[in-house]
C-alpha cells in the first residue's frame, strides 16, 4: 500500500471532489511530502511569531486592513469603474473577465496579437485558477514560469501546495533528482546554490528574449491604477520590465480604493507570511513603466504596453454569500497554513484543492469552482489556531464548519446506516450527513447513555469485535482506544458530597458548567475545581445542563448547534444576571462560549457569556488579584511533592482565547519549573483522531507533542505532565501511556 500511495502524482488527486482522492492525498502526503512541508511551514510559523511581536501596533494595523478590505468588497462595483478609468488614463487597457475561460481566452488573444512566442510568468495563483498556461500552450506560446518554485512545478507537473512557497513540499534532494532527470544533466546539483544557479541561468535567457510578461498583483489601488507587488527573487522585476508588454491578472477582490493606503498592506504582509520585515522587493508601480523599452537580442524595440485583467470567476457570488464573503478579505499571506498542525503534517496537496490550499482554501475552491471541491476542508479540526494568526481576522474554522454543513446536505447517505442514525437527534437539514458525522455530532447522547451501563460497555468496547464493527460501520479506527464511560459523572459526584466551604476570605458564589467532557470524561478536574474554590471561600453551584454543542459544531450541524447554543446560553444567562461568574474547565467549551457562540446568539447575549465565563485558573488569578491574596496562604510553594517540574500542553483553543497564560503564571508563582509545549495542536481534536481516514495524520501530528514531552522529561521521573483538554489527554495517553492531569488537579494537590 505504501508503494501505491508514494507513486501517486499530486495532480491526479488534486480535485478532491473525486471520491477517494482526499484519503489518497493524505496518505501520499504523509509518505512523500510531510518532511519538507513540516520543516518549512514550521520555520515560517516561528518567524511569524517573532516578527509579529516586533510590530508594536500590530493589532491596530490588522484591524485597519480588515476594515479596508470590508469596505473594498462592499464598494467593489464602484471601485472597479474607478479602476477602469485610472488604467485607461495611464495608457493601459482594462478588461473585466466574468469567467476563468473568458480571462484565459482574452489573455491568449493579446499574446497572439503581439505575435508572442515566449511569455515569462511570475507566480500567480489566479493564473493557476484560470488554467492560463493550458490556453497559452494550446496556442503554441511557450510559457516560462520564472518564480523558482513555479519553475519546479512546471517541470514536475504538480499543482502549488502553498500560496507563498508553492513547492514547499519538495526537499532539496527531490528537486535535485527532478532537475537531473528532466534536464538529463550530470551536474552535481547538490546544494541550494547549485540548484538556484542552474535554474536562474535558464531563466535569464528567457527574460531577455521574452515577448510578454505576465504577473499577478497583491493589491491594486483604484484611484490611480497602482499595483503593489511583493517578491524576493527579482523575477517580478524582470517580468514587469524586461519584455515590452506586461499583463496583470488578478481577482476583483484585490482592488482597494486608495494608493495612500498601500503601506498598511506592505507592513502587514511580509511579517504575516514569511516573518520577514519586508521581502527583498516591494513594487509600487503604475504601468506601463516609464522606462525605455528594452531589446536584448537585437529585435526591433516595441512601445511598452500594459493590460490589467481582473477576473470575477465566482467572486461576485462569494460577495453575496454572507459566509464566503469573508474569504474575499484574504490577503494571501499563508499564516493560516503555517500555523495549522494538520497543514504542517501534509501540506496543500492533501489539505488543498486544484488551486487553493489550506484552511482558507476550501472556501476559495467552493467559491471559484464548486462546493464538492471543498471537501478537503474536512481536514480542518476547528482548532482555531489560525483565527488569532490571520492578519485580517478571518474566522477560518467557521467558514469550514459552514462548508461541512453545506456538504452534509448534499451527501447521499446509505439507507441501512440511515436507519441506525434515525435514533439520534438532528435537524431536518442535517438528515443527509454520514452516520459517522451523526454519531460524533451527538457525542453528548452517546456519553450520557454510556454512563448508565459503564462496566458492560467498557468491557465490550475493548473487545476486538466491537472495534471491528465500529471501524466498519462508523469508520472509527480500531487502533484507537475508545473513550471509557463513567457512571461516576461530575454531576453525580457533586450530588453525593456536600461542599466544605472555608469561611475565610472570598465570600463568593460561582457556577461550574458541567461541560460534556468534564462531566463524563474528566470529572476529577471538576471536583478539583470545587475543592480549590471552596478553600478560598467560594461556593460552587454545578450546572445541570451540559449539551452545549461543541460536538455538533465540529461536524457542521449548524442548526442543531444553534438550538444547543440557545438552550445553554439562556440557562447560563439566568446565573450571570444573578451576578454569578461561570467556570468552564474544558477549554474547547470555554472557547465555544467566548468565540463560536457569536455566530448563534444575539450580540447582547453573546457578550454576556463572553465576558463572564472563565477558565478555573484564570478565574483564580483574577480573585487573587482582586482580593490581594497571597498564594502562600493557600498553597504549598514548590510543595513537598516529589515532582516539582511541569510539562504543560495547553489546548489549542485555550491558546486562541488567550486563557493559557494565567495557568503558566500561577504555577510559576508557586515555584514550579515549567516547560510548555510549542506544538499548535495535539492532533486529536475531539473526534478527528478517531476517524479511520485521519488516524495516521492525527498520530503524525501527535508524535511531535510526544517528542517534546520526551525531550523535556528526558529520563527523569521528576515531572508532572499537565494537559488542559480532554482530547489532548487522550492523545498523549494513547501514544505514550503517560496519564496527564488537568492543571487544576495539580493545584488541588498543592492545597494547604
Amino acid at each position: 500500500m505504501r508503494q501505491v500511495y508514494s507513486n501517486i502524482h499530486p495532480r491526479e488527486i488534486a480535485d478532491k471532489s473525486v471520491k477517494g482522492n482526499l484519503e489518497k492525498a493524505v496518505n501520499m502526503a504523509l509518505l512523500v511530502e510531510s518532511e519538507a512541508v513540516s520543516k518549512n511551514t514550521k520555520t515560517f510559523n516561528a518567524n511569524r511569531y517573532a516578527a509579529k511581536n516586533n510590530i508594536k501596533d500590530y493589532q491596530q494595523l490588522r484591524e485597519q486592513v480588515r476594515r479596508l478590505k470590508e469596505y473594498s468588497i462592499e464598494e467593489q462595483p464602484k471601485l472597479l469603474k474607478e479602476l477602469e478609468n485610472s488604467i485607461n488614463q495611464n495608457g493601459g487597457t482594462f478588461y473585466f473577465a466574468k469567467t476563468a475561460e473568458d480571462a484565459s481566452k482574452y489573455i491568449t488573444e493579446i499574446c497572439k496579437k503581439h505575435n508572442a512566442k515566449l511569455v515569462v510568468k511570475a507566480k500567480s495563483i489566479t493564473s493557476e485558477e484560470i488554467k492560463l498556461n493550458h490556453y497559452l500552450q494550446e496556442a503554441e506560446i511557450e510559457v516560462a514560469e520564472t518564480d523558482l518554485a513555479e519553475f519546479i512545478l512546471q517541470i514536475s507537473g504538480e499543482q502549488p501546495s502553498h500560496i507563498v512557497a508553492p513547492a514547499i513540499h519538495r526537499s532539496k534532494e527531490r528537486i535535485s533528482a527532478l532537475f537531473r532527470n528532466n534536464f538529463k544533466t550530470n551536474l552535481p546539483l547538490t546544494t541550494g546554490e547549485d540548484l538556484t544557479k542552474f535554474a536562474k541561468d535558464i531563466l535569464r535567457n528567457k527574460f531577455l528574449t521574452a515577448d510578454i510578461g505576465i504577473s499577478g498583483a497583491n493589491v491594486i489601488a483604484a484611484d490611480t491604477g497602482t499595483l503593489l507587488l511583493v517578491e524576493s527573487e527579482g523575477n517580478i522585476r524582470m517580468v514587469t520590465q524586461a519584455p515590452p508588454v506586461h499583463i496583470v491578472v488578478a481577482g476583483v477582490e484585490k482592488v482597494i480604493p486608495h494608493r495612500k493606503d498601500l503601506w498598511k498592506f506592505i507592513e502587514l504582509l511580509a511579517p504575516s507570511a514569511t516573518g520577514q520585515n519586508l521581502t527583498s522587493y516591494t513594487h509600487i508601480i503604475k504601468p506601463p513603466l516609464k522606462i525605455h523599452p528594452f531589446s536584448f537580442d537585437g529585435r526591433k524595440k516595441k512601445e511598452r504596453e500594459f493590460y490589467l485583467v481582473v477576473i470575477d470567476n465566482g467572486r461576485t457570488s462569494m460577495r453575496e454569500d454572507s459566509v464566503l464573503r469573508e474569504a474575499l478579505y484574504c490577503i494571501r499571506c499563508s499564516a493560516c497554513m503555517n500555523v495549522c498542525a494538520n497543514f504542517q503534517a501534509v501540506g496543500g496537496h492533501a489539505f488543498g484543492g486544484e488551486t487553493s490550499p489550506g484552511g482558507i482554501g476550501g472556501s476559495w475552491e467552493a467559491g471559484t469552482g464548486n462546493l464538492d471541491k471543498a471537501i478537503f476542508s474536512d481536514l480542518c479540526t476547528g482548532c482555531s489556531r489560525c483565527v488569532t494568526e490571520c492578519p485580517v481576522l478571518i474566522d477560518i474554522p467557521w467558514l469550514n464548519e459552514n462548508l461541512r454543513y453545506r456538504l452534509n446536505k448534499k451527501n447521499i447517505p446509505e439507507k441501512l446506516l440511515n436507519i441506525i442514525a434515525a435514533t439520534l437527534p438532528f435537524e431536518n437539514d442535517e438528515k443527509n450527513a454520514s452516520l459517522q458525522k451523526k454519531i460524533f455530532a451527538n457525542y453528548y447522547f452517546i456519553a450520557n447513555w454510556g454512563s448508565k451501563f459503564p462496566s458492560l460497555l467498557n468491557t465490550i468496547s475493548d473487545s476486538g469485535i466491537i472495534k471491528n464493527i465500529a471501524e466498519k460501520i462508523l469508520k472509527i479506527d480500531k487502533r484507537r482506544s475508545l473513550p471509557k464511560f463513567n457512571s461516576n459523572t461530575l454531576l453525580k459526584q457533586c450530588e453525593k458530597h456536600s461542599q466544605n466551604i472555608s469561611r475565610a476570605n472570598v465570600k463568593n458564589k460561582v457556577l461550574l458548567f458541567a461541560d460534556l467532557f468534564t462531566n463524563f470524561s474528566r470529572p476529577s478536574a471538576g471536583i478539583a475545581t470545587v475543592k480549590v474554590f471552596n478553600k478560598l471561600g467560594i461556593e460552587v453551584i454545578i450546572s445541570n445542563v451540559g449539551n452545549e454543542g461543541r460536538d455538533s459544531l465540529s461536524q457542521g450541524f449548524l442548526s442543531t448547534t444553534k438550538n444547543r447554543a440557545l438552550e445553554t446560553a439562556n440557562y447560563l444567562q439566568k446565573y450571570i444576571d444573578d451576578g454569578l461568574d461561570v467556570i468552564v474547565v474544558e477549554p474547547s467549551i470555554l472557547a465555544l462560549f467566548r468565540k463560536d457562540y457569536k455566530h448563534f446568539l444575539d450580540e447582547k447575549l453573546f457578550n454576556k457569556l463572553k465576558h463572564n465565563c472563565y477558565d478555573p485558573i484564570e478565574y483564580l488569578m483574577k480573585i487573587f488579584d482582586k482580593y490581594k491574596l497571597s498564594v502562600k496562604d493557600f498553597f504549598n510553594l514548590n510543595p513537598g511533592l516529589k515532582k516539582s517540574r511541569i510539562f504543560f500542553h495547553s489546548h489549542c483553543q485555550q491558546r486562541s482565547i488567550y486563557s493559557e497564560k494565567p495557568t503558566i503564571d500561577f504555577f510559576k508563582k508557586l515555584g514550579f519549573n515549567l516547560t510548555t509545549s510549542t506544538v499548535e495542536c495535539c492532533g486529536m481534536a475531539g473526534s478527528f483522531g478517531y476517524k479511520k481516514q485521519y488516524y495516521d495524520l492525527s498520530v503524525k501530528v501527535g508524535k511531535e507533542l510526544v517528542e517534546q514531552i520526551e525531550d523535556a522529561v528526558n529520563d527523569t521521573t521528576d515531572f508532572i505532565i499537565l494537559s488542559s483538554g480532554v482530547s489532548c489527554h487522550q492523545q498523549i495517553n494513547d501514544l505514550t501511556n503517560i496519564s496527564t492531569i488537568h492543571p487544576i488537579e495539580l493545584l488541588h494537590k498543592c492545597l494547604k
Partner: protein
C-alpha cells in the same frame, strides 16, 4: 536611525557603509567594493549629488555610460541613488523610471545604493505619510529594496537569483 538601519541590515546580509559626503571618501569606498575590472553602470542621480562621484568616474574605463541593452545585461555592478531609506526594514527606495535606477539595480550582480543619512525614516509608512517622500511616493513608480535577491525555494536560503546577489548601501553622512 543609522544605527537601527545597520542593525537590521545585518540580518538580511546587506553591507552598510557610512561615510562622509566627500568625493574622495566615495571613491575609496567604491574601490573597496569593486576590485575587478568588470563593467559598471551608473543610473541618473536625482536625490544624491552625482558630483560626489566625479573622482570615481574620472578615467574609469569600466563604467559604461548609456549602455546599450545587451551591455546592460552583462554589466556586473549597478550604482544607483535612492530617495529614502527605511531603518526598521533596512530598505532603500528606488525610482523605477527612466533614470534607470530600477533597471541598473536589477540586471547587475552587485547593487550599490547611495543614500543620504537625512533621508532615513523609521518605518515603511513614513515614506507614504511624511514629506518630502510623500510627494514622490504618491505619484512615481518605485521599488523598496530590502536586501539582495533571494530564494528559499531550493531547500535553503540562497542569495542571488534573478537580481543582484549582493547589496551595498552607502550612507552619506
Amino acid at each position: 536611525m543609522i544605527r537601527k538601519f545597520i542593525e537590521k541590515a545585518r540580518s538580511v546580509e546587506t553591507v552598510v557603509k557610512v561615510i562622509p559626503k566627500l568625493p574622495g571618501a566615495i571613491n575609496e569606498t567604491l574601490h573597496t567594493i569593486i576590485k575587478d575590472d568588470k563593467k559598471i553602470v551608473i543610473s541618473d542621480f536625482k536625490f544624491v549629488n552625482d558630483e560626489l562621484l566625479r573622482e570615481f568616474k574620472k578615467n574609469n574605463s569600466n563604467i559604461i555610460v548609456n549602455p546599450p541593452d545587451e551591455e546592460l545585461a552583462k554589466a556586473k555592478y549597478g550604482i544607483t541613488d535612492s530617495f529614502a531609506g527605511i531603518a526598521e526594514t533596512a530598505s532603500v527606495c528606488l525610482l523605477n523610471d527612466n533614470s534607470m535606477t530600477g533597471s541598473f539595480s536589477l540586471f547587475t550582480e552587485v547593487h550599490i545604493a547611495f543614500l543620504n543619512a537625512e533621508d532615513i525614516v523609521p518605518r515603511p509608512r513614513n515614506i507614504f505619510l511624511d514629506e518630502p517622500f510623500k510627494s514622490i511616493t504618491e505619484k512615481e513608480d518605485f521599488i523598496i529594496v530590502s536586501g539582495s535577491s533571494a530564494t528559499a525555494d531550493m531547500g535553503t536560503l540562497v542569495r542571488g537569483v534573478h537580481g543582484p546577489a549582493k547589496l551595498y548601501v552607502v550612507i552619506l553622512n
